[in-house]
């Protein structure tokens, strides 16, 4: 695959535009951690996962669990861009009439494989899906994104033990390492680092990448697929708010929605970026 493709970059930029649109219209939500995870989601939903919007419940499909469920705007953006849900529904995010809940609801949204939002639980559910795949003799793979702050939850480490114990080599977890949680830098609030040594000690295959570099994301996923007998954690160094200049590396944008003006400014930046790639597809 061509990881430098304009199409993939546009896919990611469009996710980011939808993150702004969703949170701006809702006047709430979590743009910062949605933007940091956007490139990983773009790669998975554009390039990697064996999924079909026409058959979202296919028992043989690859699964994705957004363990950091508050990044739902980015997941909805990926699902809209991939054709699972209509793009015009993005603006209904968090409205009482909408099916697009603040945190992903598997019962309400085509393409959402697990309801998440309470941190620590999604990675365990992903373990369950991966082990069920082995027991049910299915070839699908399971992907999940966890947050760096989320790793302060003890359940993440229960899941880490479980995945290694059952040799879940069909499970690939991305750690969105954007350094910031609600109350500040993760090292100041409750330091969960070092991630690489911890996951190594838990008997995982550990890969560290730039989470905004598609070549590195692709190479890491290929390495994960080739690794047998152990689960893989891809520690993705990311920038919270990535792609919207005034949101980058600001923990204040964890759970604050952009105003209409800010949304327009951010969207203009992203449109400019898309134009620099040679225009929208």
């Amino acid at each position: 695959m061509n990881t430098n493709s304009k199409e993939l970059k546009c896919f990611a930029a469009n996710i980011r535009k939808m993150v702004l649109e969703a949170t701006c219209n809702a006047k709430s939500g979590h743009p910062g951690g949605s933007l940091s995870a956007a490139d990983i989601l773009a790669y998975l939903y554009h390039t990697e996962m064996n999924i079909d919007p026409k058959n979202p419940a296919d028992p043989d499909r690859d699964r994705f669990v957004l363990s950091k469920g508050h990044a739902s705007p980015a997941l909805y953006g990926a699902l809209a861009e991939r054709g699972f849900i209509p793009k015009e529904d993005i603006k209904t995010f968090r409205n009482a009439e909408s099916y697009l809940q603040g945190h992903p609801d598997m019962k309400g949204v085509n393409g959402v494989d697990m309801s998440t939002g309470s941190l620590g639980q999604g990675i365990s559910a992903a373990c369950g899906m991966a082990l069920a795949g082995k027991l049910n003799k299915k070839d699908y793979r399971v992907y999940s994104i966890i947050g760096d702050g989320e790793c302060e939850e003890g359940q993440v480490w229960e899941a880490a033990m479980f995945a290694a114990h059952y040799k879940l080599d069909n499970l690939t977890v991305f750690l969105d390492f954007n350094n910031l949680q609600i109350d500040g830098n993760i090292r100041d609030v409750m330091n969960p680092t070092p991630f690489d040594k911890k996951f190594e000690a838990f008997n995982w295959n550990v890969i560290v990448i730039d989470g905004h570099n598609f070549e590195e994301i692709a190479a890491a996923v290929e390495k994960a697929k080739a690794t047998k007998g152990m689960p893989t954690i891809i520690i993705a160094n990311t920038i919270k708010g990535k792609g919207v200049s005034f949101m980058e590396n600001q923990c204040g944008w964890h759970g604050t929605a952009p105003s209409v003006e800010q949304c327009e400014m951010g969207t203009a930046e992203l449109d400019e970026y898309i134009n620099s790639l040679g225009g929208a597809l």
Binding site: D105, S118, C127, G128, L131, A132, Q155, E158, A159, M161
Partner: protein, 314 residues
């Protein structure tokens, strides 16, 4: 299957039923390092490939169960009631209840009859905790026969089920002709003066109390409520209207469980004098189950006394 009068713990019947009905290849059984006590080892012996030990990590186990059921499996997740409903409450609420997944929680060692292990292991609040979760069905079997049928019904039921089993060997009171249906209470004895509504191992005490009351010239109806949620409103309202007084009996805190559920039905539909037998909002302690039943008033004597009290309020 089980002989009337035979003493057998409902957890034993749970393990045996898992093995008996486990041929369905969608079934996976998880346990948190207690398979010898929860009796899921009975399933493990027959279907080792579908038995998964999750280790001492109940929260993870319940979310793993959710993920498995999202892939089409019927998943039993077992631990002691305290840790299944207590430690893993939020995983059950968010990962299982909210998406209404097909996870069956096999919670053993419920109630004060755990005995010598003491208060930390005597779960007296699980029915109350589970009752607050939308989509949850709660079954508290009275004997081995009912426990076996509850497991079968849980397999056939689409959605989460909390199954509450005991450690203590209790008398089998139902025969092979016993009919079990989720959500349907069972009138075991008719009566006209009051109704004793019992659940779990309190059911045989309720039957004994009925006989003792008869000697005093009091006619008590006995109703077995095995499904705490959804509760059988009809049988409760009928009992209230026809007998005019209600006594509930459960091996659980009087807050949150059967007594609360019955009181809610009565208050909204047919208010009559009632009394709740159960632990009176206190923690348990170490001791033999029989001694603890006596201390905490979970016995025939207390049911008789409370029945007389409630009759005086009619």
């Amino acid at each position: 299957m089980y002989k009337i009068g035979e003493k057998i713990a409902t957890r034993e019947a749970y393990g045996a039923a898992l093995a008996e009905f486990g041929c369905d290849e969608r079934i996976i059984v998880l346990d948190a390092d207690l398979s010898k006590s929860t009796k899921t080892d009975c399933f493990k012996k027959v279907y080792p490939e579908r038995f998964i030990n999750a280790g001492i990590a109940e929260g993870n186990m319940l979310s793993v169960a959710a993920g498995m059921s999202a892939c089409g499996n019927i998943v039993f997740a077992s631990s002691f009631a305290m840790f299944a409903s207590g430690r893993a409450f939020e995983q059950i609420r968010n990962s299982v209840g909210y998406p209404c997944l097909n996870v069956k929680i096999g919670a053993t060692h419920a109630g004060i009859s755990v005995g010598e292990d003491g208060a930390t292991h005597q779960c007296l609040e699980d029915m109350g905790i589970m009752r607050t979760i939308p989509n949850m069905t709660i079954i508290n079997p009275a004997d081995a026969t009912e426990a076996r049928l509850a497991v079968k019904a849980a397999i056939d039921h689409q959605g989460p089920v909390y199954l509450r089993f005991g450690r203590l060997a209790v008398p089998t009171i139902f025969g092979d002709d016993y009919k079990f249906e989720i959500g349907k209470g069972v009138e075991l004895e008719d009566g006209t003066d009051l109704t004793i509504i019992a659940t779990g191992l309190m059911v045989p005490y309720a039957q004994e109390a009925r006989n003792a009351l008869l000697e005093l010239g009091i006619s008590a109806r006995v109703v077995n409520i095995h499904t705490i949620k959804p509760i059988d409103k009809e049988i409760i309202i009928k009992a209230a209207k026809e007998t005019g007084a209600i006594v509930t009996a459960e091996e659980h805190n009087i807050i949150g469980g059967l007594g609360s559920a019955v009181a809610e039905v009565l208050a909204e539909n047919a208010p009559v004098p009632m009394a709740r037998i159960g632990t009176q909002d206190v923690f348990g302690r170490s001791g033999t189950p029989q001694k603890l039943f006596e201390i905490y008033g979970l016995d025939t004597k207390t049911i008789v006394e409370k029945s007389k009290e409630v009759l005086a309020k009619k």
